[in-house]
Symmetry: C2
Subunit: 157 residues, 2 copies
DNA sequence: GGCAAATCGGACTCAATCGGTCCGGTACTA
DNA sequence: TAGTACCGGACCGATTGAGTCCGATTTGCC
């Protein structure tokens, strides 16, 4: 349980990578894949999904690539992961009603929905700031700003 | 993400069912499977797993079956689920070190371990009482005792 | 204008996992 | 002693997931 798909992991890595660059830097799929050690074709699919979700902005053509649509502090963990997780819920009752064809209603639904709601509440507040400065999280709460480190590669758009 | 395996669902249903009986009632696999609408052979495997985990006590032979090893309030959610979830963790770094063969260490490990620890802390305190009286949970916290309802079938051992 | 760089998006394969079944063996009780 | 019920391994089919391939389209640059 809990495990996210590999695509979600790649998505988190990509957002983390882009967040560490200056805001208007653009990175191509090939570059990002090489630096993070991710299969390029697969990463391409992931970034497309993130773009559709409104988290990334793509520039096509030569010199193009991806950049963050907004700062990491305004991107929620669930937003990054949701495009690649078909069902976000503890038990099959919630996501696929057809699975639970018990006449009187599944006896797990009520307690599980309580649990689900509790977990979601936790995740709602969690932004990608955790992935930039993990050690200060939980104690200080979500930080408002991050000093952008311009270490990795990238081109200014 | 979050989703537990079908076996885990069956395990939760079984514990829930047994918890609603009086403590010394014994229910056979066939009876429990029929009442909960679970494939008997599969439920048999699940109950074996729960017994190995020390949550159930089995009596073999005629008139035998399963009963809880201790009251529901002393059974944690993670105990019920763990035998059927090979990996309990958000990202593959934690459970299978071999998966993450990045030289400099996966950049997700640190933030994810923070997240993992946080989630585990929440689950540690959660007992199966939630599945007996879900609505009072979270507001009142884990209850200490439950009035056992002797509605379902079962034999006194 | 033409070429190269780069995103787009569908189709496809391969392997692993999961849900479920089957069956022989063993222990216990009436 | 016979029937009941747990024990446990082998097996199978469907689904899902990771990853690949390839063509189409858009855009920047010489």
């Amino acid at each position: 349980m809990f495990k996210v798909s590999r695509k979600s992991e790649y998505a988190l890595m990509a957002i983390q990578h882009l967040a560490r660059l200056e805001p208007d830097f653009v990175v191509s799929v090939a570059d990002l894949a090489a630096q993070e050690g991710i299969p390029p074709d697969l990463l391409a699919k992931v970034l497309q999904g993130l773009k559709k979700a409104g988290l990334l902005i793509a520039s096509k053509g030569a010199g193009g690539g991806y950049r963050l649509a907004r700062p990491a502090g305004e991107i929620r963990f669930l937003e990054v992961v949701r495009p690649f997780e078909e069902q976000i819920g503890v038990v099959s009752c919630h996501t696929r009603v057809t699975d639970c064809q018990r006449t009187d209603g599944c006896s797990l639904r009520d307690p599980m929905s309580v649990l689900n709601a509790y977990l979601m509440r936790q995740f709602e507040q969690m932004t990608m700031e955790l992935f930039i400065s993990p050690h200060t999280w939980l104690t200080t709460g979500p930080r408002t700003t991050t000093p952008a480190e311009s270490t990795s590669l990238g081109r200014r758009s």
